[in-house]
Amino acid sequence: MKSQQFKVVDAQGIHARPASQLVSNSTAFASTIALVTDNKEANVKSILSVMSLALRQGDDFTLRVEGADEEQAFTAISTILVEMGIAQ
């Protein structure tokens, strides 16, 4: 399992567009990919799930990846988070 803490930096929070990016880039991986907050956990392969976290600027969350291709999946998703200016 791989995990890392992030903080949302996008002024609009994780809204439809970044959520779409995360979801589209997760579905190809076999691993379970989750965004975890204090009280909730979202399946990154589900846009409804990611959006329902309603993450806002300044919120903390953990990216957690577990499965056969976790290395590649973790790199892919964390790169999107940082490069799209969603979180760091």
Partner: protein, 571 residues
């Protein structure tokens, strides 16, 4: 072959396949099922078709409107294929042995509720996206069609119960050749829109949506008001001939594009156009309009989810003023309420919306909205010949209040160093009988009158123009209406002002002779009526018609008036 008859709302003849714009019945009934696999397969099939449909819409939107506008459909596609949506639905079908439609409704409403209850406006709005997607999937499960007018990609005739402003805004002008509706009259929104799009339309056919199915061949004859369904080859040939003859007639009229609008005895009047958006200008110029007699600004406020900003409005007004290259442009300030509603501006339900809180009445209360529009207009005033017109004025007090707000904003802009044209005529729509009766008093303070006959007739005859059962009372030739019009024109002339007309009557072939005789200065109509009216005008003698108009005022009924005009025209 079947034949329907309605009201010829926009001239021309169109022949094409039908596209039914009818809201489907999406009622879900809970059913117990036995074959879980079959029900889940039904769901999968619906999801697959929805995915294809959304991909097509996404692609078309991207081509027509750009990637930005298409992005939302990318999100919708992810929702359709969302594992957290699909798994619980399948689970429900298996565990509770319920039908797919019911499972979808249950699961999607859970998400809708979740998003609606979030303490975040943005997420609340996403609930609408989920509803939208669910509706699409549901339609496929139920085997009904959700019409999507923006996706029309072949030449069609649109068939609808009625067309709302937001429906027509989505119509692709390249593919919609004509339309026909169950309800409506010559002055309903759908009719006005057809004329501004320059496509044939027949409205008020009562049973178009019941009779016509998607893909049926339809002929819309906007000259006679006939709609032919599944015509035989002979009929199609006949109507193709008729369409040809009509376009030949139009070519004849087109020669008058640069001719002045003068009567046979040399009296000049202004033939102007009614427009709704800057895009309509092309048609005004092509049809030789000598000005814009009515720019309906409410379209700027429609089909969106927030009020237009001052800058957005400024851009539109400036485009119209520049597009008319110095010719007069009469801009009517916001006329909302009545049958025109805005989704983001909740108005109280009223028993009599046409007699209610609308137009200037609303603007004088919501001065924030009104001031924004006035500022945008004033800023645009230096780009052409702007005239500002207030709608639904019933009392002099209302006019004075509105004008005072205009003067205040003008002073504010000047203080901010913004240029404003020195001379801007400020006038009123005359559509309420009290104002017509008091026209002599108004004429001392306003710069012009524009008679809005659609409403003036409705209010004078106390006949709701949306109610077909009283449509016989819509009588432009009624002497009562003519007398009111005369009062307004005479009052204007006495004070050296001008009087125009921007209702449907101004382009009516039998009303034009009377109005010319009564001394009307400006006739504002659908752009497509201008050349026809110019041709008519050249055959009319104003001096003779002055006498005819005097006689008309003394006739007893609308039919009597029409009879003497027809007699004159025939001669």
């Amino acid at each position: 072959m079947m034949k329907l008859n309605g009201i010829a709302a926009s001239s021309g003849v169109a022949i094409a396949k039908a596209y039914c714009l009818v809201a489907p019945d999406l009622t879900v009934v809970k059913q117990q099922i036995t074959d879980v696999d079959a029900e889940q397969a039904k769901l999968d099939a619906a999801l697959a078709v929805t995915t294809e449909e959304l991909k097509a819409i996404q692609q078309m939107t991207e081509e027509n409107l750009g990637a930005e506008e298409a992005a939302i459909f990318g999100a919708h596609l992810l929702v359709v294929n969302d594992p957290e949506l699909i798994a619980p639905m399948k689970q429900k079908i298996a565990d509770e042995k319920v039908n797919a439609a019911f499972a979808l409704q249950e699961v999607s409403s859970m998400f809708v509720t979740m998003f609606e209850s979030m303490d975040n406006d943005y997420m609340n709005e996403r609930a609408a996206d989920i509803k939208d997607v669910s509706k699409r999937i549901l339609a496929h499960i139920l085997g009904v069609k959700i019409p999507n007018p923006s996706a029309i990609n072949e030449r069609v005739i649109v068939v609808a119960n009625d067309l709302t402003p937001s429906d027509t805004a989505q119509l692709n002008r390249d593919f919609v050749l004509g339309f026909t509706t169950d309800i409506g009259g010559r002055t309903s929104h759908s009719a006005i829109m057809a004329r501004s799009l320059e496509i044939p339309a027949v409205v008020g056919t009562k049973e178009a949506t019941q009779t016509i199915e998607d893909g049926m061949m339809v002929i819309v004859d906007g000259l006679s008001g006939d709609v032919l369904v599944n015509p035989d080859d002979e009929t199609i040939a006949h109507y193709e001939q008729k369409a040809k003859a009509f376009s030949a007639q139009q070519k004849e009229w087109a020669k008058l594009v640069n001719e002045p609008s003068v009567s046979a005895d040399g009296h000049h009047v202004e033939l102007a156009a009614n427009i709704g958006t800057p895009e309509d200008l092309e048609s005004v110029v092509r049809n030789g309009g000598e000005g814009v007699g009515l720019y309906r600004t409410e379209f700027l406020y429609m089909g969106r989810d927030a009020l237009p900003t001052e800058d957005e409005q400024f851009t539109a007004y400036r485009a119209v003023l520049e597009g008319m290259s110095g010719k007069p442009v009469v801009v009517r300030t916001l006329d909302i309420g009545g049958d025109k509603k805005l989704p983001y501006l909740p108005l109280a339900e009223e028993l009599n919306p046409f007699l209610g809180h609308r137009a200037i009445r609303l603007c004088l209360e919501r001065t924030d909205i009104f001031r924004t529009q006035l500022r945008a207009l004033l800023r645009a005033s230096t780009y052409g010949n702007l005239k500002i017109m207030f709608p639904m004025i019933a009392t002099l007090q209302e006019f004075r209040e509105a004008k005072a707000l205009l003067e205040e904003e003008k002073a504010n802009l000047l203080a901010e160093g913004v240029q404003v044209a020195e001379q801007i005529e400020v006038g009123i729509m005359v559509e309420i009988p009290s104002t017509a009766v008091m026209a002599d008093t108004f004429a001392k303070e306003v710069d012009f009158f524009s008679i809005g006959t659609n409403d003036l007739i409705q209010y004078t005859m106390a006949a709701d123009r949306m109610n077909e059962q009283v449509s016989y009372l819509y009588q432009p030739y009624n002497p009562a209406i003519l007398r009111l019009i005369k009062m307004v024109i005479d009052a204007a002339h006495k004070e050296g002002k001008w009087a125009g007309m921007c209702g449907e009557m101004a382009g009516d072939e039998f009303a034009v002779p009377l109005l010319l005789g009564l001394g009307l200065d400006e006739f504002s109509m659908s752009a497509t009526s201008i050349l026809k009216t110019r041709a008519l005008l050249q055959s009319l003698n104003k001096v003779e018609l002055e006498e005819l108009a005097v006689r008309a005022l003394d006739e007893a009924t609308a039919d009597d008036v029409l009879a003497i005009v027809q007699q004159y025209v025939a001669k």
